[in-house]
Structure formats: C-alpha cells, structure tokens
C-alpha cells in the first residue's frame, strides 16, 4: 500500500510544482552530460568529438523531458483534460444542440429541486428544537373523518397538568394582528398566545432575559405584571437591538406589557408556517382579543393547537392508550351542557396523540396533495428531459460513427472513445444541473408566494430556504440525471462494432439498422409528454370552470377594507354611526359606485351559521351574513324580489331578513316568501322576509352556492361588530387605500391602518393551489411538447442525414419526392402512435389520482383527451415533416458523389 500512496503523493506534488520539476530534470541531465564530457576529455578525446558523443548519447533533450515527465504524470488526468477540451470544442461546434440540451436539463433539475424544497419546508422539515421526536400533536376524535385539532381552553387546562405522560403540554394560538402601539399609532404585528410551558417544552434558550413561565400564564400575569417575549427580528426593528430592552414596556392591545426576553432568530415556535414576533401568555387572551373572549366561551370555542412533549421512554401507543380513558372524565368536568356530553359519549370522544416532530400547521391539510401531485409532474418532466437528451446524444453518436471509426483505426482504444463520449454527456449534465440548482431557490420562492397568496391574509408563509435535505435531494437528482443521460449513449457506443461502421460509412448499401433502444426511448418520451399534457389539460379545464362557474357575485371592481373597528371604545348605535360616516365619506371618492359593509367576506373560509325554521317547521342550519344596505348592489348580487335593507331597519322597526333564492325555495317551496316570517335559533326570534336575492358562493368557489340568509347589521345582537367595507369602484384602487387610511386615522385614531384587498385577489387567493397546479402543469406540458418535438426532430434529422446517399440512390432509381417524404416521415409515425397509445392508457389509469383536484371536470374528459392527442400529433408531425422535406430535396447526384 505504501508505495502506491507514496507514488500518489509524489505525482500530486508534481502537478503543483511542474515548473520546478522540469527545471530539476534539466539540471540533473546537464550535470550528467557535464561529467560525461569531462570524462571523455580526460580520456583525451578532442573537444568536438566529445560534444558529439554526448549529444549522441542523449539525443533530443525534448524527448528526454517528455519521457521523464510522463513517468510523473497521472495518465488519466491528462487524458481527462484532453477529453474535456475536445468535448467542449465539439459542443461549441453545435451551439443549437448544446443550448437545447442545457435548457432541458436545467428545466428538469430546477423544477424538481424547487418543488422539493416546497415539499420539504411544508411536509418534511423537523422543528428546529432539541429532541423534537418527543413532541406529539394532540387532537380530538369526534367521529368526523378528520381529527379536530382546535382545543377548547378548559380541555387544554385539564391536560396541562398530566405530567405522568408529558413532561410539558402547551397550547398556542396565532394572532396575525396583535395590536401594538408604535411611536404614534397602533400597528398590527404577528403575535402568538402561548401557555406557560410553551418555551420550556420547546427547549430553546432565550437570546436575552428569560422566557415565559407558568407564573406568567395566570389571569393578571405574575406579581410583576403582564410579561411578553419578543423575537430577535422584532428586537431589531422596534428596539434597534438595544441591550436595555429587558424590562422595557410595550403597549399591546392598549395594555402595558413588560418585555422579559428575546428569542433567537432560529426559534420559530411549533408551527413552521408562522413567524410570530411577539409572544404573550395565553391567559391574556381576553385583553388581546377584546371585546371577544374565547377563554370565557369555554368549550364552545375550539381554537387552541395543543402539543405535548412526551416523558422519556413513553411511547406514542402508551400515550394514546392512557389518553383514551381520561378523555370523557375531562369532558364531564368541564362541560356544563348535558346534551353535549351525551353526544360526545355517543361518538366515543377521546384525545389522540400524533407524531409532532415537524410541528403542526393547518396549511398541510390544504397543500399536501397538490404538492405531491406537482412533485410527480416534476419527476415526469425530469425523466422526459433525460430521455430526450439521451436519445439526442445517441443520434448524434450514430451520426458520428464514421468519425469514431476513423479515430479507432488511427489507434485510439475503444475505452478512450467511450470515455470521450461519456465526458461529453457528463459535461452537459453537470453544467445543466448546476444551472438548474442555481435557478431552483428563486423558483421555489415564487412558487411559495403564489401558493400562499390565499393565506397571506392570515400571516402564514413558507420558508423555502435550502437545508441539508434539499441539497442531498438535489445531489441525488443531479447524479441520477447524469447517469441517465451519460450511460445510455455510452452503452450504445460500446455495443456496436465500430469497425463495421468504418466499412459501412454512409454507403447506400447499408440497410438502416435500427437499434431497439432508441425507438423505445422516443416512444416513452411521447407517452410521458401525452400524460403531462392530459394532466395539464384537466387541471386548466377545472380551473377555467372554477373561474367561470359564477360566484353569484361579480368580484371585478370590488374592494374590501378591513377596519378592525372593534379596537376602539364606541359600540352600539354610535359605532354604527361611525361606520356610516366612513361609508359616506368613501362613497364620495372618485370612481366609487357604492359602499356597504359585511361581517363576512365571501371565499375567505370564514363562516357564520344560524339555525332557522319556518313557522311550525324543522330547524335548519343555514349560512348567514350580516350586511349593511347596498351590499347586494356593491357585490352585484341580483335582487329578485322585495327590497334591500335600509339604514332605518333598526331593531325597533321590526326584525327583517333577506333570503337567497335557495333558502327561499327551501323554506317556501309553495308560496311567495315575501312578507313571510322565519324563526331563528332556540329563542325563535321572529324575522320578516323583505327580499329575495340571487345565490352566491360563500365559503369557497369549489362548493355550490349554499342556501343563506342576510340580516342587517343594524339589528345585530353583537354591539361591537367588526365589519369589512365592501366598495364597488370603476376607478383605480390605490387612491382608495390612501383615502381609507386617512379617513380611519381621522374618525378612529385607535384602530390600526385599514388593510385593503381587491375581491379579485381574494378569488385568486382562494384558488391558489389550483392556480399554481394549473400554471405549473401547463408550463410543464408546454415544455414536454417542445422537448418531445425536439427529440423527434433531432433523432430523425440525424438518422436521415446518415441515409443521404441511400436516398440519393433511391431517387436516382426513380423514387418520387413524395415517396421519399413518406419514407422518412413513416419512421416517426410508428413511434408516435405507439407512444400515444401507451400514454393514453397510462393517463386514463393515472388521471383518477387527479380527480380530487378537479372541479366539475371528469378525469376522463373526452375533449381534453382529444385535444391533447391532437396537439401532440401536430407537434410530432411538424417535427417529422421537416427532416422528411429536407430529405426530399436531396439531389441524387450530389448525394452519391459526396461519398
């Protein structure tokens, strides 16, 4: 072993000390020559003869150097550099091929890495906390298909003390808009309510100060007052990293909190999609949420995410076994309504623990399937890119057979030739993957922004930064791609007998020997492309139908302004007056057609429900919304019968209600609903129906418009409703935001700057997953068509070029040009037909996986299938026709003479 190692080290040294080595060799030889000459002179040989003898002994000094240097060099490295320069020269000679090759591989690798980093950040990355494998997420089994992860506060408090199972149990609630007083006005900051053991369980030491403890998580806080912990970035922006921040005061929700600690940047809490800046004790919820109080709502409010850290040595199974018997007793202890307890008993209510290494986020439920589907598409496009490159390289290799054979005849070994071919493919693969990896972060970031656009209002985000897992994945993709691209052409080159090609060359007598591998690869390309095109077609059809299905209202030109008006002291009639003032002022803005208010903005996944009944009829749970006059006008919801609300429809003037068409049909299938009465809730509050409006989608666009009731805001029981202004405008929206801000500052200085969103953006945001999927799959399908076209064209062009003289002879013997076109064209027709058939079968089998993403679109939609096949055939025909036409223009005489 030692000689080999020594050998290696010395050779390595020689690479870096090339000049010195050369000099030393020259010196050694000169010394020898000198001694030799001296000896000869000593023996009495005349000067000139001695010189001649020395020259004769040593011969050409250049050759000496060569021989000694060769000894010292790594033969393989020398050859490698030579291969690389040669390959680079070849690639430079065909820039079209090189660019296409690089682009395809960049696309494949880039897309895969980008989507994988999304997948990683949402589904795979563990929480950056110590011993995260001990964390479990708690849920409640209530007989629904999915666990309920929203805990009522009393349930959590009962679990918090179960230390025999958990070292700690903590609850948290993300508050996207924590009201914090800045220099002059209140600002919204993403914050989080956390229970006492939150920080202890997450085991991350604070950067400064201390973290919150169970003492802080008591009503009224610890004896020192209310405590808050801030994040490093909040510390930077609000306190300019001042070391005196500990003990500083913050006005949160108009109440004084003391900053007790700063958490380091790497701490993100237990939800990977949130970035809370301020942590306040869970017990302060009544202050933060005022005038609401989820804590007081007891078991009616299901809001807390509960996570536990297991005692060491306790397994998930043991915890679940122990949780089951303790569940119903907790319900009985904390719930006062016996109906509810009985119902929970019937569905075998119990707590469930699930692995929580990766924390918990609701976003996972929305995006897991779309991301996995996207990832599968990316895999397809990568495979396609590799197949395409491999077949192009093969065709190129075939066209170069003669050159290779010549080099073989000149004494190059087969190994050297194959190695050169491999180096060429590897160069493309390596450069392409590097480019792909370079664009991946940008792509994943923009994808994340697009995906999360619907959730941006809730303050969630996706951290797509690179980590070890993404890098490993990228490396894996790069290696697989390189192998696929490089190996196949190399295998082919070794399989054929190159000597034969030397003899054959371009001679016409060769029957075109088709290797089986190439058509199989091309057919798989066609099949893959068809699958991608069909998938994209289905997804875009579905998206198109979603957009055009009609929401029941017209989102174009509607602007929503969130007012958060509950953060100011007025309530009841004075508050309504404030809303009216605001609306009045906004309606005078240029372009504004009408202004109204609503409790719930449609398509934001927020729902209000009430039970209603016709007199003497069954109670029905119905969607409801509270709206101001002109709401239907602002939203362009048609009023079919009766009238709109008026500001004079107060409680004193009698309770009024407007139904949508479905609700009207539901309650009064037999008669005109106008003037009829319906009753609400267990109190049987009586409402008079004053109007019937068109159906409109409520929770999201995917579900049909539900039956719904509208109550006027003037008659709400809630004396402090938080309303959103709904404005229809024909002008630009930007000036409206500024106007709303100054108006709000003037009318209610306590509220934070109002946030504006166009209804269009809400519609788009609510379809973000569908949009990203349709967009990406469309993009991939386009690329797939292009890549397949290029593959078919390139391979056929190379193959046809090899048959030039054959075609020349055919034509000389009387073949018609049309016949030649058909001859060449036919070569690809079979491949395309087989590929299409296989692709269609696979697509029909696989498209079922897409069914859950599709809206009013069958996964076997015949139109999508037909159009996909047509577009693919079109591309394939165009790609095959070009070489065929070129072949038909061959002049027989030149073709034969060129031999």
């Amino acid at each position: 072993m030692i000689p080999t190692l020594n050998d290696f080290l010395l050779r390595l040294k020689s690479i870096f000390r090339k000049k010195r080595m050369d000099r030393e060799m020259a010196e050694e030889l000169a010394f020898h020559q000198m001694l030799l000459r001296e000896k000869l002179l000593h023996q009495g040989v005349p000067q000139s003869q001695a010189n001649a003898a020395v020259r004769k002994t040593f011969g050409n000094p250049q050759r000496w150097h060569e021989r000694l240097r060769e000894l010292w060099q790594f033969r393989s490295i020398e050859n490698l550099t030579r291969d690389i320069t040669f390959s680079l020269r070849l690639l430079k000679k065909s820039p079209g091929f090189t660019i296409i090759a690089l682009l395809t591989i960049t696309l494949g690798v880039g897309a895969n890495t980008a989507v994988f980093s999304l997948l990683n950040s949402l589904l795979l990355r563990p929480l950056p906390v110590p011993h995260n494998d001990q964390l479990v997420v708690l849920g409640m089994e209530e007989g629904w298909p999915r666990l309920n992860y929203g805990f009522p506060e009393p349930f959590f408090r009962a679990l918090e003390s179960k230390h025999e199972l958990f070292q700690q149990t903590f609850a948290s609630f993300f508050v996207n808009k924590l009201l914090i007083r800045g220099r002059s006005v209140n600002e919204n900051v993403p914050g989080i309510l956390v229970s006492g053991d939150y920080f202890t369980a997450l085991q991350t030491p604070p950067l400064m100060g201390r973290y919150l403890t169970p003492e802080d998580d008591r009503p009224g806080g610890s004896p020192e007052g209310l405590a808050a912990v801030i994040s490093e970035s909040f510390w930077s922006t609000w306190f300019s990293r001042s070391p005196n921040v500990i003990g500083g005061k913050l006005q949160i929700a108009n109440t004084t909190f003391t900053v007790v600690g700063v958490m380091p940047k790497r701490f993100i809490g237990a939800n990977p999609t949130e970035n809370p800046e301020v942590f306040v004790p869970l017990s302060t919820e009544p202050i933060i949420d005022a005038p609401h109080n989820l804590t007081k709502s007891g078991f009616h409010a299901q809001w807390l995410v509960v996570i536990g850290r297991l005692q060491p040595g306790v397994s998930l199974e043991q915890v679940n076994a122990a949780l089951k018997p303790m569940s119903m007793p907790i319900v009985r202890d904390t719930v006062s309504e016996t109906d509810w307890i009985t119902r929970m008993g019937k569905v075998h209510f119990h707590f469930v623990a699930e692995p929580g290494t990766r924390g918990f986020t609701y976003i996972r439920f929305f995006f897991r399937k779309p991301l996995v589907a996207l990832f599968a598409m990316c895999g397809g496009i990568l495979l396609l890119a590799c197949l395409n490159l491999a077949s192009l390289l093969m065709a190129r290799g075939a066209a170069r057979e003669r050159e290779l054979a010549t080099r073989l005849a000149m004494g190059a070994t087969r190994r050297r030739l194959v190695r050169q071919l491999l180096v060429e493919s590897l160069l493309i693969a390596i450069v392409g993957t590097t480019l792909g990896l370079a664009v991946a972060p940008l792509a994943s970031q923009s994808l994340a922004v697009m995906l999360m656009s619907g959730n941006a209002r809730n303050g969630t985000y996706l951290d797509t930064s690179l980590d070890l897992r993404v890098l490993l994945f990228a490396a894996g993709v790069a290696i697989v791609a390189t192998m696929l691209i490089g190996l196949i052409p190399a295998l082919q080159a070794t399989s054929g007998n190159l000597n034969e090609h030397m003899k054959e060359g371009q001679h016409a007598n060769t029957t075109h020997k088709r290797k089986l591998l190439q058509p199989i690869m091309l057919a798989s390309e066609v099949a893959l492309a068809l699958i991608l095109v069909i998938g994209a077609g289905l997804l875009s059809t579905s998206l198109y139908r979603l957009f055009t299905s009609g929401a029941g209202f017209n989102p174009h030109g509607v602007v929503n302004i969130d007012l958060d008006i509950d953060k100011q002291p007025l309530n009841g009639d004075p508050l309504l007056h404030l809303y009216r003032q605001f609306g009045e002022a906004m309606s005078h803005q240029p372009g504004v057609a009408s202004v109204s208010f609503a409790r719930v903005v449609p398509l934001t996944h927020t729902v209000l429900e009430s039970s209603y009944a016709r007199q003497g009829g069954q109670m029905q749970d119905l969607y409801m919304n509270a709206v101001a006059p002109d709401y239907f006008k602002s939203m362009s919801i048609p009023l079919f019968e009766g009238r709109d609300f008026r500001w004079t429809d107060t409680t004193a003037s009698g309770l009024k209600i407007i139904l949508n068409q479905s609700a009207a049909k539901l309650f009064f299938p037999d008669r005109d609903p106008l003037g009829q009465h319906i009753l609400r809730g267990s109190e049987k509050t009586d409402f008079e129906i004053v109007g019937v409006v068109g159906d409109a989608k409520y929770e999201d666009l995917r579900n049909a418009a539900p039956p719904a009731c509208y109550e006027p805001i003037m008659q709400l029981d809630d004396k402090k409703p938080s309303l959103t202004a709904v404005i229809r405008t024909s002008g630009p929206t930007a000036p409206l935001a500024a106007a709303a801000r100054s108006l709000a500052a003037q009318l209610a200085p306590e509220i934070p700057a109002p946030v504006m969103a166009t209804m269009d953006s809400i519609v788009e945001g609510s379809l973000s997953a569908e949009r990203v999927m349709a967009l990406l799959s469309g993009f991939f399908a386009g690329c797939a068509l292009l890549v397949t076209g290029i593959g078919l064209y390139g391979t056929l062009a190379y193959n046809t070029a090899r048959r030039t003289s054959e075609i020349g002879i055919r034509m000389a013997l009387g073949a018609q040009r049309a016949g030649v076109v058909a001859l060449v064209f036919r070569a690809n027709t079979f491949i395309a037909a087989v590929g299409t058939a296989v692709g269609l079968i696979v697509a029909i089998l696989a498209s079922r996986a897409l069914a859950s993403f599709l809206y009013e679109t069958s996964p076997h939609d015949p139109w999508v299938m037909v159009i996909s096949i047509l577009s693919l055939s079109l591309i394939a025909s165009a790609a095959s026709l070009l070489p065929a036409l070129r072949a038909s223009r061959i002049e027989p005489i030149t073709a034969i003479r060129c031999e």
């Binding site: 050779r11 010196e27 050694e28 010394f31 001694l35 040593f58 021989r67 000894l71 010292w72």
Partner: protein, 114 residues
Amino acid sequence: MIREENTDSGDLIQGTLEMLVLKALARGPLHGYAVAEWIHQTSQQLLKVEEGALYPALHRLELRGLLEARWGASENNRRAKFYQLTTEGKKRLNAESQRWARLSAAVAFVMQAT
C-alpha cells in the same frame, strides 16, 4: 518483473537494471552519473548502463518509494541530485539479491548439465 511497457533499457532487462541500481546505492547516496559509473566499473566494464534507461529507472524507483532524492554538492562542488535507499528500498534489495542468487544458481545448474 518484466513489464509490458518495456522501455529501451539497453542490454539489461528492466528488473535487473533496477536491482543493480539498488545495489549501487547500498553503500550510500550517489548521483545518477556515479550510479552508472559504479555499475560499469564493478562489472569489469562488462555492463554498460544507457542513460536513456538509467534516469527513467531512477525516477520510477523514487516514485515507488524505494529511493529518496536529495539535492547536494558533488565531489567537484556542483549541485547534483543524490539518490539514497529508503528502508523499503533496502528490503527490496535484499529480496532481489536472494531471488537473483537462486535464479542464477538455477540457470547455472541447467547450463552446466551434461
């Protein structure tokens, strides 16, 4: 010992030349010229080491770690590259001498047979 990539090693086959070089260096460090001279003299002017074979052999032995090279002053005070046996080289010389003794004895037996 006889390798495929046989260089023009004059009258001596490569393995033998290497053995002789090792032997020449057994008494202490020498430069290339002195190695050739020593072999020439010691063999009663029977063996002539070609320069074209000597230096590649020296460098090859150095690469294999059997020799160490060091620049020093020659007898006439010129800078010269001196070669010296390593421990590995001494071991190899031993093994080679034994092998050679056996081989030459065997050849002698055969050739002296009547």
